[in-house]
Symmetry: C2
Subunit: 218 residues, 2 copies
């Protein structure tokens, strides 16, 4: 059902990893279009005509319906698969952890990684925020580590879309200066996620994607 | 199925409104326990033994399972009801808007409302953040208004858990100094939400709840 959908993605982003991890785990062959965020392509008219909010990842279905937000796209692609928990409380726990990821992890790990690792030339402007992001992000990682000390996966001891969502930026945390060595439950869980069928490292996720800002409608 | 669950709530919070709106719309009779956040009760041992993260809303099921995060609790209580969209893309859009609410609305409307309206004595410390929160929150409200100019409800033209999640802090935005008068699509939608069966104003949501920090286990 998803083979005719188009997924707009960029390289190196923990949010963009998530829908691709679902596709690769389930063998879904989405069309992939590579958008270069650092070159400003998400803000160019060609892309804004597809997603007026100017962000990726973004999914356009075969019938033209559009869906934003990484965790929502991952959830959609995972529907009717074992990646969605089977019980009502399991689905709610998955939504709980996806929410936690977007409020406690991503808003801290992503910006500090961006200004210190991806584009350090921007660090000057945001220098005073770096310790704030690192402190808040570490508190989030502590909550995650506490959970994973008692559980193999985020929800109901089964690999799910919640693991994929939380993995997105957690596995990149070292690039934001976070010390994961004291969070053994997290690093053990990262190993379990990376042992799942279809897993590929973030550097390989866009292999084979079209690069086509000039003919996005194609 | 939810009648034996216990919902821990506080007064006046846009997040705490959400699960109660689901219960009242669907006629679910959760046990409700009132926790006084401003008096510090979420950080007292009696409550920390129930939710170590020390936040409300929080749900404890009859079998002891525990669930945090307002939107996850609302989703759980809404399962198997018309408040959950019927299609896969509809459910994903609901998750998309719930995510939007927790990243673009709540983190801006909630703190500025807190320091200027709920507890202005704290505004001194956070004074420089007030214009930042108001600017970011206004951008979120603009995105919401744009969506509601073309839609009666958040997802598939039907009242759903996504409306309840987004309504939580949006209907309190004026208390944070946000001018909703220029967002007619939002104010019209607020009227539609408040016309739904079972709707009660935030000031009435805890009428009849137990107030029992001293005997929370009861």
């Amino acid at each position: 059902m998803h083979d005719a959908a188009t997924l707009y993605l960029t390289q190196g982003s923990g949010n963009n990893v998530k829908p691709m991890m679902v596709c690769q785990h389930l063998g879904i062959e989405c069309n992939r279009k590579y958008i270069n965020v650092l070159a400003g392509e998400t803000k160019q008219p060609e892309f804004l005509s597809i997603n007026p909010l100017g962000v990726v990842p973004f999914l356009v279905l075969a019938d033209g319906q559009r869906l934003g937000e990484s965790n929502a796209i991952a959830w959609y692609l995972a529907e009717n698969s074992p990646l969605i928990p089977k019980t009502a409380i399991g689905r709610a726990q998955a939504i709980r952890w996806m929410n936690f990821e977007q409020t406690s992890l991503e808003p801290n790990i992503s910006p500090v990684r961006f200004v210190t690792f991806i584009a350090p030339e921007l660090a000057t402007d945001n220098h005073d925020m770096i310790p704030v992001w690192q402190d808040r992000g570490t508190k989030g990682l502590q909550i995650l580590n506490d959970h994973l000390q008692a559980h193999n996966f985020m929800v109901e001891e089964t690999y799910s879309v919640a693991d994929i969502a939380v993995y997105g930026y957690t596995h990149l945390a070292r690039e934001g200066g976070f010390d994961l060595d004291s969070f053994n439950a997290i690093t053990d869980w990262i190993d379990r996620v990376e042992s799942q069928p279809g897993y590929a490292p973030i550097s390989e996720l866009l292999n084979g994607a079209d690069y086509t800002i000039d003919n996005l409608a194609a």
